[in-house]
Symmetry: C2
């Protein structure tokens, strides 16, 4: 049966998921577009519901794997969609639990990134994508960091939000983990030692601060080491995602 | 005299500069906000005109240095501005010439980035900011790369668009320069040698392709070497600005 009325309660409920606070309250993530949906499903996201237009029923047959499939008219899909040119494919998936413990491999190769109040969804997505590329054990975020399951971050991550553990912890909880597991903590700080002379060893967690103000003094003071990326040019600082990319590469060469 | 009418020809002319094609045709860039304006002026951008609200006349006295100052009412400034909360400070500056020759220091430390059809203004701004931080000689762009003087790129560059030469060249023009000056050319390519084993020497130009399709085969084939950033994780590729940040750091350590 195809839903054709925009006033159908199902359409209203799906449209409400545009607002992340609604989706978050229900413990779900609404994603849209063939590539992002397929990537989430193939990465093991828990599929709650597939929503497609009639033209995409075949896609649903291939990917829904027993989950509920809702078929809607194009007009209804436009209402549900938040894009200008909807592809007619969307999914509701379970939001991964971010409150669990920080995973630890214990092979001496663990790399973590801790984000203190990073605010830009695009930066966050790029940081998660890079962490995935360099096989980090997890990305740990302060409670004030922006939501990794907002649409812009999922897009910027190119689906990497589904590939590695994302955990919310306060700085103190993260430092307690580091000291329990003998993980060194590196503050990215303009007053730090130069990266190539800092004698860094794994396992390691590096900390990146908010785009505007950097890492707080309180958090920096609790790190085992302050490091900086040498910048011989005129720019005073690097974008948070750019700094994180460099750290990811450099630390992964130490494995 | 304070302009208070939105129909004033001056207000209309300034409002027209919102559209980059209008500004480009006049060879100027319209920038807004205290930080971005001050940064452009202090970086040596050629100031054509300062536009401020009455509350910001002092700022204009400090920074206009002989350029025309136009004082407008807040209502008029809102019309000129493209931001939601205008700060009441804007400048019209000359657009740097992008058609000139590629600069060459010849000290054996030259680093260039060549961008083939990079489309995202935020990526472009971050790439320019990173190139500035690592003191590149220039950023070279294909004619199909997005405009570095659009507002989003200027913002993402944190003013770095004013700090280093930005030059538009076709790939063939860039390769001709490289062969004249014995600059090696590195294609960032998933089939390349791993970065840390590639034996790279300066001077060097690395090439990054369009976000969607990467570097074209034609351009890759003309490079002296193909290199890749090793990615042990699940992400299939890196964001263009992330890859460029890693290259900038690694190449600057070779100086």
């Amino acid at each position: 049966m195809v839903i054709t009325s925009k006033d159908n309660p199902k359409i209203k409920a799906l449209t409400a998921l545009h607002r992340r606070e609604n989706a978050r309250r229900e413990g779900v993530v609404f994603i849209e577009g063939e590539r992002l949906c397929r990537d989430a499903i193939e990465s093991g996201a828990v599929l709650r519901e597939v929503v497609v237009t009639e033209a995409n029923e075949d896609w649903a047959l291939d990917y829904a794997k027993g989950a509920d499939v809702t078929v809607v008219s194009e007009k209804c899909f436009e209402k549900i969609s938040s894009t200008v040119h909807p592809q007619g494919i969307a999914c509701v998936v379970g939001q991964p639990d971010m409150a669990g413990t920080i995973p630890f491999r214990g092979n001496g190769k663990d790399i973590y990134c801790y984000l203190e109040d990073v605010q830009d969804p695009g930066n966050l997505g790029t940081i998660i994508r890079t962490a995935d590329a360099f096989d980090f054990t997890a990305v740990i975020m302060s409670p004030g960091t922006c939501d990794p399951f907002n649409e812009k971050t999922i897009r910027a991550s190119m689906g990497s939000v589904w590939h590695l553990p994302l955990v919310t912890k306060t700085p103190d909880e993260a430092f307690a983990f580091c000291s329990r597991k003998s993980v060194s903590s590196l503050a990215m700080h303009l007053k730090g030692e130069e990266l190539d002379k800092a004698g860094i060893t794994l396992p390691v967690m590096y900390l990146i601060g908010n785009e505007g103000r950097g890492l707080t003094d309180e958090t920096s003071a609790k790190c085992t080491q302050l490091v900086k990326i040498p910048m011989p040019g005129k720019a005073e600082s690097l974008n948070a995602a750019a700094a994180s990319s460099i750290m990811g590469y450099v630390l992964s060469t130490l494995r």
